[in-house]
């Protein structure tokens, strides 16, 4: 089971700023280990973010995203106290869902 995401969500003016760090190796499938064997690809493929019960972000990612991915977004109309729920799923079917609450600016 992958480590929990680190999520920060805070109001800045009219917008909620959301930053998330996901613990994930993001192996490209192009690297080889010391014995010369190819290391299997292992990377996050799908990400979704819900704020206040509405889906605001939905995306897909490939192998050109850095290890332990960090993403930042801004959402207009969200308010302090709204729940932020973030999901990811990788190419091996592993998944995580973590949540936080938007704090006042």
């Amino acid at each position: 089971m992958a480590d929990p995401m680190k999520i920060r969500a805070q109001m800045k003016g009219d917008n909620a700023e959301i930053r998330v760090l996901m613990s994930h190796p993001m192996e490209t499938g192009q690297r080889k280990d010391n014995a010369g064997n190819t290391i299997a690809a292992h990377y996050i493929q799908s990400i979704a973010i819900d704020v206040g019960g509405k889906r605001v972000i939905q995306g897909q990612t490939g192998t050109s995203i850095s290890r332990n991915p960090v993403f930042g977004f801004r959402v207009k109309g969200a308010k302090a106290g709204d729940k932020v729920v973030i999901h990811w799923e990788d190419n091996k079917g592993e998944k995580r869902t973590d949540e936080t609450t938007i704090s006042a600016g």
Partner: protein, 157 residues
């Protein structure tokens, strides 16, 4: 729930789909992520194929797309990039690294107040153009690019 991603990633019939889906209440959040990964686009080995597979084969240059990235990245494994689009009704942004083995890094849809912008960290194997594609709600695609010089690549072993 799949509607948002499908309109975005497939490129076709995007125009009213999201609006219609919202009206119909289809865009309800769900714990489950939609299943249909755009494998053709993410596994495309060259830029032209990646563009075509996200539906952006004929994207026009547009200065409303802003790419903030370092001119020189010392570590290609982690290249911080901020992107945004001031093109009206932008609903989706994709980021591609021309010279990576698999150029398409990500494609994200924005809805329900999410601003068409994002911060992310790219892996870059070598000096390359970073290209951003924006899609608008009428199904049109726009693009912009910025070169990032890489001193140590991030894709090797």
């Amino acid at each position: 729930m799949d509607a948002i991603r499908r309109t975005l990633l497939k490129g076709a019939g995007a125009a009213g789909a999201i609006t219609a889906a919202m009206a119909a209440g289809v865009l309800k959040p769900s714990g489950a992520l939609a299943a249909e990964y755009n494998r053709a686009a993410f596994e495309a080995k060259d830029l032209a194929n990646a563009f075509r597979n996200i539906g952006a084969g004929s994207a026009a240059d547009n200065s409303g797309i802003v790419i903030k990235a370092p001119d020189i990245a010392e570590n290609g494994a982690v290249v911080p990039v901020d992107i945004s689009s001031s093109i009206p009704n932008t609903i989706s942004l994709a980021v591609l690294v021309d010279k990576n083995p698999l150029p398409l890094s990500s494609a994200f849809d924005f809805a329900n107040g999410a601003l068409p912008e994002m911060a992310l960290r790219l892996k870059m194997g070598q000096t390359s153009m970073v290209e951003v594609v924006a899609k608008t709600s009428d199904g049109k695609f726009y693009k912009a690019k910025k070169e990032v010089k890489v001193t140590v690549g991030g894709c090797g072993g």
